[in-house]
C-alpha cells in the first residue's frame, strides 16, 4: 500500500526554511509520499537534498523529488502578463512538489505535460 500525504502551503508558510525541510523530510521518512501544495525556494530544494544526504542509512535511502510548475512555455503577450500576475499574487503557492521516499518511489518522470511516478517492489527481508 502506498500512502500519500497532502500538505497545504499554509502548513509550511510560517515555518523557517529549516522547519519546512524537517517537516517534509519527516513525513517522507515515514515511507509516505508528500504532495506539497506549491513549491520550496530553490535554495530550500538544495537544502532538502543536503539534509536528505545527512539522514541516509540502511533504512532510509533518500528521496525522489519533482516540482510541477504551471508556467507554460508560451511566454508571449497576454499569457505572459497573466502568468506574471498570478506569480506575483500566489508566489510559491503555485504548482506542486512531490517528495517520495526512495524506499517507495523508484523514479519520477516528468515532462512539461505529464508526471509519472513508478513505485518500487517491496524487498523481502530474510
Amino acid at each position: 500500500m502506498v500512502t500519500l500525504q497532502f500538505v497545504p502551503y499554509n502548513e509550511i508558510e510560517t515555518l523557517t526554511s529549516l522547519g519546512r525541510i524537517r517537516k517534509l523530510l519527516n513525513i517522507a521518512k515515514q515511507d509516505k509520499i508528500v504532495l506539497l501544495q506549491g513549491r520550496l525556494k530553490k535554495e530550500e530544494e538544495t537544502e532538502l537534498i543536503r539534509a536528505t544526504m545527512e539522514e541516509i542509512n540502511s533504512e532510509f535511502k533518500g528521496i525522489e523529488l519533482a516540482v510541477i510548475n504551471p508556467q507554460s512555455s508560451d511566454g508571449s503577450g497576454i499569457t505572459k502578463f497573466k502568468q506574471d500576475l498570478f506569480s506575483m499574487i500566489l508566489g510559491d503557492r503555485q504548482g506542486m512538489t512531490i517528495i517520495g521516499p526512495a524506499n517507495v518511489v523508484k523514479s519520477i518522470k516528468k515532462d512539461p505535460n505529464k508526471i509519472e511516478l513508478y513505485t518500487t517492489e517491496k524487498r523481502k527481508k530474510n
Binding site: K42, E43, E45, T46, I49, R50, T52, M53, E54, I56, S58, K61, G62, I63, E64, L65, A66, V67, S73, A102, I108, K109, K110, D111, P112
Partner: protein, 210 residues
C-alpha cells in the same frame, strides 16, 4: 564600520577573483561525465589527467581542484581559472545498487557513505563558484529535478552557466531535448570521452567567461 569592512572584503574578493582565483565548477548528476570532461580539458591544456573515471556512479566522491589552467583561443585570448570537479548531485544513494556490480557489502556501504558526503560538499561549494559548467548526459531525461534544482540555484546566485550535453557520440543522445528543456541557457554538445566537438566547447567557454 561594518559596511566599510564588508565593502573592502568584497573589493578584495573581486580583485583576487579577477586576477588569480576564478573558479570554474563542474556540476551535474552522477555519471554525466564531469570528470571525463575535466580530464579531456586538462589533457588538452596541461598534458595530464585530473581524476579517475568509471562506469559506476559516484566515482568522484570528493571535490577535486586543478589550479591555474590557462587556455588560449585561436585569436590569442587567454583564460585562466581553477577547475573544480564536484561529485554528482543525487537525491538518493542506495548501497545495494553498488552490490550489483560485484562490490562487497563493506565496500558498497563505504562508497555510499562517501557519496552522501560528496553530495553535501558539492552543494556547499556552490557559493564558491564564479562560473559553472552543468554537465548532462545527453542520453538521459533532462527534466530530472536534480538538473532543474542545480540550474535554479545557479540562477538564484547569478552565476554564469553553460550547459554541456555530453555523450553525443551515443545513438540515444538528444541535444534537442536538452535545448528544449532549458531554452534560456546556451547548450553545447560534446563527447568528452572521444574529444568530439571540443573546439565548439572552448568557444562557448570563452564566450561565457570573457
Amino acid at each position: 564600520m561594518k559596511f566599510l569592512k564588508s565593502l573592502y572584503q568584497k573589493f578584495l574578493k573581486d580583485v583576487l577573483k579577477g586576477k588569480h582565483d576564478v573558479k570554474l565548477g563542474l556540476y551535474g548528476p552522477p555519471n554525466s561525465g564531469k570528470t571525463t570532461l575535466a580530464n579531456t580539458l586538462c589533457k588538452d591544456w596541461l598534458g595530464e589527467e585530473m581524476g579517475t573515471v568509471s562506469s559506476l556512479p559516484h566515482e568522484t566522491r570528493e571535490i577535486n581542484i586543478k589550479e591555474q589552467i590557462t587556455i588560449k583561443s585561436k585569436d590569442g585570448q587567454e583564460l585562466l581559472f581553477n577547475l573544480v570537479d564536484t561529485p554528482g548531485i543525487a537525491t538518493k544513494i542506495d548501497y545495494e545498487d553498488f552490490l550489483k556490480s560485484g562490490m562487497s557489502e563493506g565496500k558498497a556501504k563505504k562508497r555510499a557513505r562517501e557519496a552522501t558526503k560528496g553530495v553535501i560538499e558539492a552543494i556547499k561549494w556552490l557559493d564558491e563558484m564564479d562560473t559553472v559548467l552543468v554537465v548532462l548526459d545527453a542520453t538521459e531525461d533532462p527534466y530530472s529535478q536534480v538538473n532543474v534544482t542545480i540550474l535554479g540555484n545557479l540562477q538564484a546566485r547569478k552565476i554564469p552557466v553553460l550547459v554541456v550535453a555530453n555523450k553525443i557520440d551515443l545513438k540515444r543522445a538528444s541535444m534537442k531535448k536538452i535545448q528544449s528543456a532549458f531554452p534560456q541557457y546556451d547548450v553545447v554538445g560534446i563527447s568528452a570521452r572521444y574529444s568530439k566537438n571540443m573546439d565548439d566547447f572552448y568557444k562557448a567557454l570563452f564566450k561565457l567567461m570573457k
